[in-house]
């Protein structure tokens, strides 16, 4: 019998929280992820099948949906990333596949990404140092894939000027964490 200890992307047994000034960076280990790519010729059926799962239309370019249990991000033409609570939806890929059937290719992404929430009244100053997003227009529900220290990341605006969620490659979780905390220390 194995006796394994679950660890977070940063290697801890619980989420890492860093606070600089009034901005807080929180590692979010309990996020289940799966990508959904509509198959050619079945895009409309895929959107129709997604609608009841998202309780909304599949998001257009650069946008998200935030209705429980599945949040979604537009990631490319006819392609989305879906997020859910890991404690209730560990089997997110199988669950989605059972609903989407042959209209889409579903790939589990949970262990491919590290998730951070960056919150506080001065996150704009931090993000300005990290990425090329035009923060003037970055509003609640927007999501942009961009490069942070040469790492391809999704940045999701959960509250304009107050809160963003950052998804980055899990294998580089330490580097991404270092980049963000360094920017926090510089900007705040």
């Amino acid at each position: 019998m194995h006796d394994l200890t679950p660890i977070t992307a940063l290697g801890g047994t619980s989420q890492r929280i860093d606070t600089v000034g009034d901005v807080c960076l929180t590692e979010m280990p309990d996020v289940a992820l799966a990508s959904v790519a509509a198959r050619r010729g079945k895009e409309a059926r895929c959107r129709a099948a997604l609608k009841p799962l998202l309780n909304a239309d599949a998001p257009p370019p650069g946008r998200t949906t935030a209705n429980a249990p599945f949040e979604s991000i537009w990631t490319g033409p006819d392609q989305w990333m879906l997020l859910a609570d890991f404690t209730t939806h560990e089997d997110i890929a199988a669950h989605l596949k059972s609903h989407l059937a042959d209209t889409a290719s579903v790939t589990e992404q949970t262990d491919a990404w590290v998730c951070f929430d960056l919150t506080g009244p001065r996150i704009t100053a931090v993000l300005e140092l990290l990425c090329t997003i035009d923060l003037t227009w970055f509003e609640t529900g927007d999501a942009i894939r961009t490069s942070i220290h040469h790492l391809g990341c999704f940045v999701i605006c959960t509250e304009t000027g107050q809160s963003v969620r950052i998804l980055g490659p899990r294998a580089s979780a330490g580097s991404l964490h270092h980049a963000i905390t360094t920017a926090m220390a510089s900007a705040l």
């Binding site: 050619r40 895009e43 257009p60 370019p61 650069g62 537009w74 990631t75 490319g76 033409p77 006819d78 090329t132 942009i144 894939r145 961009t146 490069s147 391809g152």
Partner: protein, 90 residues
């Protein structure tokens, strides 16, 4: 240089990777192409001083491949389109 992505709006060219001339999409038919056809496809390129259709991969973005028409003498971009055939459907 700013590339106006058809779906995502103006994006910095640093997010993109240059993939060569757009003529590369016209690959010879493997069933009928001669050795000369493959030689031309693999090695011969036009080198225009002026408008040039080229492929740019949005690596730091939505991973789509764009056909960008760029003036090689001024870097002015006159047209940007998605390379995927179903590009009209978002």
């Amino acid at each position: 240089m700013i590339i106006h992505h058809p779906l995502l709006g103006p994006r910095d060219s640093a997010e993109f990777v240059y993939l060569g001339a757009a003529a590369l999409m016209d690959r010879p038919d493997p069933e009928t192409a001669s050795a000369d056809d493959w030689h031309d496809y693999a090695y011969l390129r036009d080198n225009p001083a002026g408008p040039h259709r080229e492929l740019w991969f949005h690596e730091g973005g939505d991973r789509s491949i764009l056909i960008v028409t760029r003036d090689t003498t001024t870097h002015e971009i006159t047209d940007v389109a998605l390379a995927r055939p179903a590009g009209a459907q978002i």
